[in-house]
Each structure stands twice: as structure tokens, then as C-alpha cells.
């Protein structure tokens, strides 16, 4: 399947960039451009106008129902086109942006890996496939935010973003698991046909919503997105405004037809969306860093999209698709435009960016056009889509929820007009000082080629915003297929001039109020504190780490007696409490042994007592070995030669190890110097002494099912080709257990080695310090 090959090609370029072309990132970037353009071409030629959506399933774990399923329906097409075309523009921009920047190699690799994951995500036809790519995008986002890994701010922001989206991803996984368990499918189409209702469906829907909200930065998880602006501009433009943060919207779009009518869905979606819209808009109005203004405006616009896609009315869905396209275009243009200004002036402060008018006039005009689209001013595309959204919500009949959504969007639109106009104001007015600009410009002489490479994507975004506005009805007809892929009833059209109606009147009022607020809004206003959401996250994060450290300090104090004591007590508690619940094992039949067995047992007992009472460590170790040998003898007498041989050998080696260790200790057992008093030790010993026999007795009577070994006897020779069942169990039937055991053994041995090594180094360091002090 060609679409799958396209996804794989992204990752191939990523690997190439990170490994093969480390020294030639520009070549890797060019390969990336080819792949992105090729993907766009493939999607456009293969899927547009196709009568049925191409579909492909790649089996992964068919027994568990986990397969990769891709379907290229209308919505997938529009999303995939956005991902690859915007990717193309942003990658082209980044070649100039990252000129002389050593992180470009890593950027190209991660960028292509992200683009591949995102393409996979939007083509996914079932929740599970989507989840896999979803998590991948979170990881790439984390790495890209932290691209400048020397920066503390970047690292913290990256961790915040990863933990927030990761937590949401886990919730989503649980939701997917519930659905899979309950309905035996995770396919969007099949779930839609099943139309799940009931508590389980509501719980699953809520969990999926958590995933969508964290990814798309909806309240109360909106805080990570502005922090993610620590990333370089191309990353912000692509991941954190145009594509990745839309993943949550994609999930909403895909699942709203399934869960739209379950009780909690609509309320939750509308409330979260409206609150996010207002918070984002308000902060965008007060932020002084132009990039952060855009970040908060993205949060706000995502709120609008959440409402449109989540409310589940056909027209709203159509409006959502339209606005999603409009937003992706103008916001990518804006981010890149701010990147151009930043690159040119070395500042993004809204009170200073007015100087850009002289430095990069073309880009500034393009930015202005994108801002007008964001504000929803006629004749730009943003106007047509926002009109559609208002019309859709005016028509929707959802009672109170519908009204909240409508008025929320109206208020949000006032804010979005306001922050757009504020930025516009910042661009057109003459800044107070242009000193910083001149100074920066002196040592920054980019070539004409590079400058036009930087400006081109911004201009393209502006031209498209304008062109789509004038061709609104044509573009509107293109969007019918995507939205009807989500909801068959979502067939509508766009128009640049819809005629005088309620929505238009509302728009005029909104624009008038917003423009006044925006023009009057101060450009220098300072936000005193870190955003509240970020602070809450940091408090939770820091206290989790601190709590973990405290717990570790309590349960791992570094004292061997405490470790052994706790382990033994816990081992004893289980059988003793079980014995009280299930009754004690019977003593009958314990006398069936022969005289030989009895005498060996007596030897073992005497030796064990000897271990406890002897004062010399050396003799104690010897006696302990004697107990082991006696046990081995019992195994042999009872017809378990394998066990006996192993026990004998292990015991031998254990004694040697004991003796090796004893050389480092005093010869006589002294009074305990640890915090454990003698009486505690005796108590622990007695508990273990009672518990283990109880366990042995209970185990003897506990069998209810037939012994598994009978089956093994029957299968041993035929299936595993061995007559020694014990060994066949070890290496074949239960070979995984053995595998695990030898790994544990290996880790323990390496642990011993490293502990000794560390102690040795410590000792040497101490000696050398002493020598230095002495000389």
C-alpha cells in the first residue's frame, strides 16, 4: 500500500538524517522535502475523487485484536495534506532558519520522524493504531522542545509537555482497553455502528477525552503548550500549532460521532473548549513575547475547534473542518513570520517588533494578512470559517449546552479579534527605540537566497489565506468530502458573503468590540507570574519527586539487617495470615519417611541449631553448609536427583563465597551493633520458623487441580525430545522462567562486581586523599 510506504519513507529519511547524513543535514532536509512533497502528491492523486476510501490492515497481534489499520477517507486526506504540505513549507523555512546551527541534523531527523508519525496518526482507522502514532508524536515533541538541551528552560518545558501528554496518552490507552474489552473492536467505523451506551462507554469516552484534552492543550491541561515555545520557531509552527496539537482534535472528530450522545461528552467538551478559549485569549492579550501571544492564541483556537468538533452537530463538524484548515494555514504563517522577525531583529517583544516594517516589509505584510485571517476579517479565509461556526452554533439545538457554546465562542472571538489587532498594532506603530535592531543587524548579513527562503512560506500562507477567502465557495465544496467522512450529514458550503444574517451581525459587533480592545491594549504590560497551570504542574512534579526520594530513604536505608528483616517478615506474614483464613494444614502423613530420612533430618536440625548458637562465624558457615548438604541428601532419598545435584553444588559454592566474605569480617559474632535489638531478631526468626512449615503443610494439601507435571511427562519425549522431565521443563516448557532466572542471576553477579569495584575505588580515593594530606 502506497500510503503505508509513504509513512515508512518519512522514518527512513529520519534515520538517514540521524545516522547516515550527520554532516550534511541540508541534503537530508532536501530528501525530507522530496518525501513530504511525494506524500502530498500521492495523497492528492490517489485519494481525492476516489469512490471508496482505500483501506489497509497490517496484522500485528491478531490474537489480541491489535492491528495497524489505515483508511484514507476525506478527513484523513485533508489532514494528511496539511501535515505534508505544511511540513514541506516549514522544513524549507528551517533550512534558512538553522543556517550555522549545529542542531539542524537532529532537527531534521526528529522532524521527519514526527511528520511520519503524524501522517500515520491521521490515516489511522482504529484507536489502537492512532494510539501508537499518538505516543510517538509525544516523544518527538518532547525531543524537539528540548532541542537545545543545554537550556534549563527548554528541558523543563519538554518534561512538562511529555508528562502531560504522556499521562493523557495513558488514560487514552485505558479507554481503548475498555472499549476493546467491551465491544471487541477499536475501529472507528465499527464502534460507530455499535453506538455504545452505558456506564462503560461513558468511562471510556471520558478517558479518551482526557487524552484529547492533554494533547490539544485544553483546560486544565492548557499550560504545557506555551511552555513548548522554548522550541525553535519551525518546531512551534509545525508541531505546536499546525499539526501535533490537532491530534486531540482529530481524535475528537473521529470519536464525536460515536460518543456524541453519551451523557457526559457534550458538556465536558463544550465547557473545556469554552474555558480554554477564554483563558487562552485573555493571556494572548497580555503576553509581551509575540511568540507566546501566538501560543496562547493557539490554545484559544484549539478551544474553538474542540467545541466545534466535540458538540456533534453536522454543521458544526463542517465548520470545524473548515476552521481547522484555516487555522493551520494562518497560524503556521504567523509563527514562521514571527520567526523571520526574530531572526532579523533578535527580539520578539511586541513593543519592539514595529522595527520589522523597515527590515522585512514583505514578511510583515504577509503576517498582517494572516493576522486578519485569524481575526476573522472579510475577505480572508478565517472570516468565512468563523461565520460558518457561528451559523452552525446558532442553528444547533442543544439547549443550555448549545447556548454556552455559542456565547463562549462569541466571547472568545472578541478576544481573538483583540489579540490579532494588538499584534497588528504592534507591527504598524513605530517602536520607541530601534537601537537593538541596528546593533543586531550589524553582525547578521543573511544572503538574499536565505532571506527569501525564510520569507517564502510566510508569503505563501498569506496568499493562500487570501485566495481561499475569495474562493470560499470552491474551497467549501472541497471540504464536503472530509466532513462527510466524519458525519454523513455534515454537508454544507462556505461563502465569502453569506448575506445579512444573525451571524454576520454578531460578527460585526465582535469585530468592532475586539478591534477597540485590541488597539487600546497596552503592548508593554507585564505578566507578573508564571502561568498558574505551569505552577501547579511544577508543584505536583517537584513534590512527587521529593516524595519519592523520601519514601526511598525510608524503605532503602542502606542497612542490611533491616532489608533482611523486612523481607523475612513479609515472607512470613503471607502464609501465617493465609493459614488463619483457610485453616492450618494437617499434620497427618508426616511420618511416612524411612529411618534413613529421619536420621538425615535429625542431622539437619542439629546443624541448624548449631548455626544459631555457635559464636564463631567460620564454624557457623560450615554448619550452614551442613544443613544444605543434609537437605540435598533428603532430595536424593526422595527421588529428585536433579534437585539434589544442584543443591549440593550450590551449597558448595555458597560456602566458598561465605568464606571469601568472612575474611573481611571479625572472627567472632559480636553483639548486634544495628538498630535491631536482640529481641526483635529473635521475634523475626521465630516468625519465619513458624511461617515456613505452615506454608509447607498448606502447600501439601492445597492441590485441587491435577498436577501439571503429569502433562509434562506425557509430552516430554515427543515434543521436546528429552527423557529428563525436570530438565525439559527448565529449558522448554517453562523456558521463559529459566530465561528470567538467569537474567536475575546475571544482574546479581554484576551487582556484586560493581559494589566491590565501587568500594575499592572509594578506598583508593580515601588513601590518595590521605597521602596528599600527609605529603
Amino acid at each position: 500500500m502506497v500510503f503505508f510506504a509513504a509513512v515508512v519513507a518519512h522514518f527512513a529519511v529520519a534515520v538517514l538524517a540521524l545516522i547516515g547524513l550527520r554532516r550534511r543535514p541540508v541534503i537530508a532536509a532536501c530528501a525530507g522535502l522530496v518525501v513530504l512533497a511525494g506524500t502530498a502528491l500521492v495523497v492528492a492523486t490517489q485519494a481525492i475523487g476516489a469512490t471508496s476510501a482505500p483501506r489497509k490492515t497490517i496484522e500485528w497481534l491478531p490474537l489480541l485484536g491489535f492491528n495497524f489499520t489505515f483508511q484514507v477517507d476525506g478527513f484523513a486526506v485533508v489532514m494528511a495534506l496539511l501535515v505534508s504540505l505544511l511540513g514541506f513549507g516549514v522544513l524549507a523555512f528551517s533550512i534558512a532558519y538553522f543556517e550555522h546551527d549545529a542542531t539542524f541534523t537532529r532537527f531534521v531527523g526528529l522532524f521527519m520522524a514526527f511528520a511520519g508519525s503524524m501522517t500515520g496518526l491521521v490515516l489511522a482507522e482504529d484507536l489502537f493504531t492512532m494510539f501508537i502514532f499518538w505516543e510517538l508524536t509525544s516523544v518527538w515533541s518532547f525531543l524537539l522542545i528540548g532541542l537545545h538541551d543545554k537550556s534549563e528552560v527548554a528541558r523543563r518545558s519538554a518534561v512538562r509537555a511529555l508528562l502531560t501528554t504522556g499521562a493523557g496518552g495513558l488514560c487514552m490507552l485505558v479507554g481503548i482497553g475498555l472499549l476493546q474489552n467491551q465491544f471487541d473492536t477499536t475501529s472507528f467505523a465499527q464502534l460507530r455502528d455499535l453506538a455504545p451506551t452505558g456506564t462503560m462507554a461513558s468511562v471510556a469516552a471520558s478517558l479518551l477525552l482526557l487524552g484529547a484534552f492533554t494533547k490539544s492543550a485544553q483546560f486544565p491541561f492548557h499550560f504545557w503548550l506555551p511552555g513548548a515555545m522554548a522550541a525553535p520557531t519551525p518546531v512551534s509552527a509545525y508541531l505546536h500549532s499546525a499539526t501535533m496539537v490537532k491530534a486531540g482534535i482529530v481524535l475528537l472528530a473521529r470519536t464525536a460521532p460515536i460518543f456524541g450522545d453519551t451523557g457526559v461528552w457534550r458538556w465536558w467538551v463544550v465547557l473545556a473548549g469554552v474555558i480554554t478559549m477564554l483563558i487562552g485569549g485573555w493571556r494572548a492579550l497580555r503576553e509581551t513575547d509575540a511568540k507566546l501571544v501566538l501560543a496562547h492564541s493557539t490554545v484559544s483556537q484549539l478551544g474553538l475547534l474542540t467545541v466545534l468538533f466535540g458538540i456533534g452537530s453536522p454543521y458544526a463538524t463542517y465548520a470545524g473542518v473548515a476552521h481547522l484548515v484555516a487555522h493551520a494555514i494562518f497560524k503556521a504563517g504567523l509563527f514562521l513570520g514571527v520567526g523571520v522577525i526574530d531572526h532579523e531583529l533578535g527580539t520578539r517583544d511586541v513593543s519592539k517588533i514595529g522595527a520589522a516594517r523597515r527590515a522585512v516589509p514583505v514578511s510583515v505584510v504577509a503576517i498582517g494578512a494572516c493576522l486578519l485571517s485569524m481575526a476573522g476579517i472579510i475577505p480572508l479565509f478565517g472570516f468565512a470559517t468563523k461565520e460558518k461556526a457561528l451559523v452552525a452554533l446558532l442553528d444547533a439545538e442543544f439547549g443550555l449546552v448549545g447556548s454556552i457554546a455559542l456565547w463562549g465562542i462569541v466571547a472568545g472571538s472578541v478576544l481573538s479579534v483583540a489579540y490579532s489587532v494588538r499584534l497588528l498594532h504592534a507591527l504598524v506603530r513605530t517602536p520607541n527605540d530601534s537601537a537593538s535592531h541596528d546593533q543586531h543587524h550589524a553582525h547578521h548579513e543573511a544572503s538574499v537566497l536565505m532571506r527569501s527562503t525564510l520569507a517564502a512560506p510566510v508569503v505563501v500562507a498569506a496568499v493562500v489565506s487570501l485566495g481561499f477567502g475569495f474562493a470560499a465557495s470552491t474551497v467549501g465544496s472541497w471540504l464536503v468530502s472530509p466532513s462527510s467522512a466524519l458525519d454523513v450529514k455534515a454537508v454544507s458550503k462556505l461563502a465569502l458573503w453569506p448575506g445579512i444574517n444573525d451571524a454576520l451581525l454578531i460578527s460585526f459587533v465582535v469585530i468592532a468590540i475586539g478591534a477597540v480592545i485590541g488597539w487600546k491594549a497596552p503592548l508593554e504590560s507585564k505578566l507578573a507570574q508564571q502561568p498558574r497551570g505551569e505552577r501547579v504542574f511544577d508543584v505536583v512534579y517537584d513534590s512527587t519527586i521529593a516524595g519519592a526520594k523520601r519514601i526511598t530513604a525510608v524503605i532503602q536505608p542502606g542497612s542490611l539487617p533491616i532489608y533482611v528483616g523486612i523481607t523475612l517478615l513479609l515472607v512470613s506474614i503471607a502464609p501465617i495470615s493465609a493459614a488463619f483464613v483457610d485453616g492450618f494444614g494437617s499434620l497427618s502423613g508426616l511420618t511416612s519417611g524411612t529411618a534413613l530420612e529421619a536420621s538425615v533430618s535429625i542431622i539437619a536440625i542439629v546443624m541448624a541449631i548449631g548455626v544459631a548458637v555457635l559464636q564463631s562465624r567460620f564454624t557457623g558457615a560450615m554448619f550452614l553448609g551442613g544443613v544444605g548438604y543434609a537437605i540435598a541428601a533428603l532430595f536424593a532419598l526422595r527421588g529428585a536427583p536433579d534437585l539434589a545435584v544442584t543443591q549440593l553444588l550450590v551449597e558448595t559454592l555458597t560456602i566458598v563465597v561465605f568464606l571469601l566474605a568472612l575474611r573481611a569480617m571479625t572472627r567472632i559474632t559480636t553483639r548486634p551493633v544495628s538498630r535491631f535489638p536482640q529481641i526483635t531478631r529473635m521475634f523475626i526468626a521465630a516468625t519465619v520458623g513458624i511461617a515456613i512449615p505452615l506454608l509447607a503443610l498448606a502447600a501439601r494439601d492445597a492441590r485441587t487441580a491435577p498436577s501439571a507435571s503429569q502433562d509434562y511427562f506425557a509430552r516430554s519425549v515427543d515434543e521436546a525430545g528429552g527423557r529428563n522431565v525436570v530438565n525439559v521443563i527448565l529449558v522448554d516448557f517453562r523456558g521463559f522462567d529459566t530465561m528470567g532466572e538467569i537474567v536475575v542471576l546475571a544482574i546479581a553477579a554484576l551487582g556484586v562486581a560493581n559494589l566491590v569495584r565501587a568500594a575499592e575505588q572509594h578506598r583508593r580515593a580515601a588513601i590518595s586523599v590521605k597521602e596528599v594530606a600527609g605529603s
Partner: protein
């Protein structure tokens, strides 16, 4: 530790060789009779312990084993590869494959794929014994990588 030349020779010439052979034999034998990789590994480990107690370095064919970690990795890798190998031919992990081949002079020999797994266990156990000897024994100076500091 042991000053007697005869004893040293005895260990060097006979016990080491015979012990190694016995260990390998026990490992092979495990599939049909008491034994196996664990027991075999422990026997070879015991041989090394004996060498150590005689004040020698653990040797195989007179070459001291300086890198038990590598042996450990090799054993784990062998076991892992045997575990995963059936996946590549469409089987379940650790599924046994039995081959019968006829060798000249010896006759028909049955080879079971799980024997390789058992040898993985064997090497891990040997390596663990060696690691413990090397690191807990260093203070004695017998297998010391550095000049002895006179504690032993």
C-alpha cells in the same frame, strides 16, 4: 594457599581437564538424565573454585579468564537467541526443534535445539561463579588484577 607442588600439578593436569569434561558431559546429558546447564555450570564453577583455593587463577587450557562479564553476556545472548530463534521461522518462542544426524563412527545423534539454551544457562552460571570469585576474592590477592596489597 596450597604450597604442595604435587597438589598443584594434580589440580592443573587432571582436575581441571576432567572437571571441564564432566561439566560439559553433565550439561549434554541433562536432556535425558539428571544434569543440565545449571548443574554443569556449577561443576565447572566448582573446578574454578578449586583452582582458586589452590592459589591459581581460573584457567581454561592454561589461559586465565580475565573477562567473566564477557562470558556472562555470551551466555545470556546464547539463551536469548535460542529463545527468539523459532520466531523467525514461524514458531513459538523456545519451541524445540529436533534434528537427527548420522555421524561417522558414532552413529545416530539426536540434537535438540533446547540444548543451546541449556548451554546459555551453563555459561551464565560459570560466569557468575567467576565474577563472585574475582570480586569477592580480590582481597585475597589470588586473582588480583593489580599488585597485591598484602592483605591475603
Amino acid at each position: 594457599m596450597i604450597k604442595s607442588k604435587i597438589l598443584e600439578e594434580l589440580i592443573d593436569r587432571w582436575l581441571t581437564k576432567v572437571g571441564t569434561l564432566v561439566a560439559i558431559f553433565i550439561t549434554f546429558r541433562g536432556h535425558n538424565a539428571p544434569g543440565g546447564g545449571f548443574a554443569g555450570g556449577l561443576i565447572l564453577g566448582a573446578v574454578f573454585v578449586l583452582q582458586y583455593l589452590a592459589g591459581q587463577q581460573p584457567t581454561i587450557r592454561r589461559k586465565p579468564i580475565l573477562n567473566p562479564e564477557r562470558l556472562l553476556g555470551f551466555g545470556l545472548l546464547l539463551a536469548l537467541v535460542t529463545t527468539a530463534a523459532p520466531l523467525f521461522v514461524g514458531g513459538a518462542p523456545l519451541e524445540s526443534y529436533i534434528w537427527s544426524i548420522t555421524l561417522p563412527q558414532i552413529g545416530k545423534v539426536k540434537i535438540v535445539s533446547s540444548t543451546f539454551f541449556d548451554f546459555g544457562v551453563f555459561f551464565v552460571v560459570v560466569a557468575v561463579v567467576l565474577l563472585v570469585l574475582t570480586f569477592l576474592g580480590t582481597r585475597g590477592g589470588a586473582i588480583s588484577h593489580e599488585p597485591t596489597d598484602g592483605v591475603g
